[in-house]
Symmetry: C2
Subunit: 255 residues, 2 copies
Amino acid sequence: MNVAQQRQGRRDGQGALTPGPLFILVEPQLGENIGAVARAMLNFGLSRLRLVNPRDGWPNPAAIAMASGASPVVDSARVLDTTDAAIGDCNYVLATTARPREMLTPVLSPRAAAEEMKVRIERGETCAVLFGGERAGLSNEDAARADAIISIPVNPAFASLNLAQAALVVSYEWALADGRASFPSDLDEEAPAPKSDLEGFITHLFSALDEAGYFFPQEKRSVKERNLRVALTRAGFTEGEIRTLRGVVKSLTRR
Amino acid sequence: MNVAQQRQGRRDGQGALTPGPLFILVEPQLGENIGAVARAMLNFGLSRLRLVNPRDGWPNPAAIAMASGASPVVDSARVLDTTDAAIGDCNYVLATTARPREMLTPVLSPRAAAEEMKVRIERGETCAVLFGGERAGLSNEDAARADAIISIPVNPAFASLNLAQAALVVSYEWALADGRASFPSDLDEEAPAPKSDLEGFITHLFSALDEAGYFFPQEKRSVKERNLRVALTRAGFTEGEIRTLRGVVKSLTRR
């Protein structure tokens, strides 16, 4: 964690150093959805949540129940009366919304938005993403407070992402921008066998096939050999797999 | 839609030409989650769903209720008894799973997976993504049938994406690979005003500020002018915004 990130963590006034963007839910309705947003966030390493005027009051048992293992995100959520109060300490604010009419705010893809926030957070800026309530989304008045709009590229014929789904997409892109990677494959730790091992197996196989009459008539032999060699090479067998395959050939020729 | 995509659509035996990957849910439990997967898919333009041995039978009213506007995806879902039956006509199969132990299957990020499927589908291949049930995910036996594993880069300290969330991430990356874009900003259709308009406004403003004594003492004038000019240039005001701002200055100087 660099100095800028530490500064960011302190600036939020929380014990934990959590350098990602804040998520701000404006007038959310169902506690279940607040809990689902918390889960989406924590799955991708985000934990700072603010709520503007939640309909059913706060704390909300349904939010805690739905959050399950992400309940610390819900427990530490800050509740504010207005959007202005919620973004007051933020340097850069994005709004997720369906296309606002006649507003000259720049629009970013979720990916571009995450990359922009990453750069700003590394510099020590506090970044926030606004999400509207379930029924009507963000008002144009709230969206007008944002430096840019995040537009999730949904199917125009069925554009009905819910609150937690929108939060999931933004969280996922944050994790990628923040350098979180897929797990490695066990295959990454196993090189393809040296070619001499592969060749040893192929020689073994071809010899067994010769005995079995597979290469008859001889004029087709070189094409058959080449095709088999190409297919067997493409898989990139490991040393262990080559041993397994030699066992297979041995077993089949034991008859 | 190119010929390969049309072929793909026909191959699936459905009336509609839906060229994206198939999603295959293996032993899903709650109908609600099947419906939520359908919604996630259709939000990003996917519609072909197969179910392997759903716990609560089929059709499932809870799935249809949760799918809401995406119920056609649920209605047209095919139900099969085994994973092998569900992937039998697929050329390329990916599995979403937590890290499988001791399996030498390649691992792809959701992004790389979507790009790979896009290339293959354009060629006319049928591609499918396997998702496991809510309780235990995909078995290693099912994952071993896949050409590659999709690994969603979750927070190792809280890795608890549910079925519909995993489907959402894969669907979202599919939409991007398929070229779906964020909506344009109204700003894209409005160029910044010609510099002569901006200059006209700045001249107007500076003249008003002059009269108000803002530039006193004169030795600070050039720095103050330059700083104001830089700040006002950075916003890239449109012609309409320049007109608005001239109105603002006129209004303020009317006193």
